[in-house]
Symmetry: C2
């Protein structure tokens, strides 16, 4: 997974920042599965993910409605529940509209 | 560095995603210095950073103007130049407005 190939703005970014609990407890498998599942959703544009002291996953969507629909997918809701119960000590989700972007591919 | 303690939305997020070249070449020192320098800028709200296959740094600002002013700070411009010349194989900067957020502190 590299830098997401997103279209011209505007589009929606969901920035998920988390602090993990100790141990894996199925976390790695779930994270991989959620990335696979996200790709299949309507309005999905891409995903970027990295972990150091904190984990940051940014998923990109055509609009806020597509991001909201992904949040509501049943299997994803199950992962969110387990995340709150056992995988994350703390987390924050920020839903944002990308207004401009630039860079070097 | 943990999860940024940002105020109620709206505020601006600058999502910087990058692929590094091999070797350090002063990168770690520069990255630390840029985080210190960002903290001192007007309108700074927080920063989150992680690196895996890609590096993701999200900095938060009171508004787009504050984010733009940070981009223009002379020492930061020097780091951007060196980044393009030697540290990054590829990168993307996305400037976004956070519209809602939620989570568990």
């Amino acid at each position: 997974m590299g830098i997401a190939e997103t279209p011209e703005p505007p589009y929606t970014a969901v920035i998920f920042t988390s602090l993990r609990t100790d141990g894996d407890d199925g976390y790695a498998q779930m994270a991989l599965r959620m990335e696979e599942l996200a790709c299949e959703q309507p309005g999905y544009l891409g995903i970027e993910s990295a972990r150091g002291d904190v984990g940051i996953t940014v998923s990109y969507w055509v609009d806020a409605e597509a991001a909201r629909a992904w949040k509501a997918v049943a299997e994803h809701r199950g992962a969110q529940r387990l995340g709150r119960a056992q995988w994350y000590r703390a987390y924050r989700v920020r839903v944002a509209v990308v207004q401009r972007d630039y860079g070097r591919p």
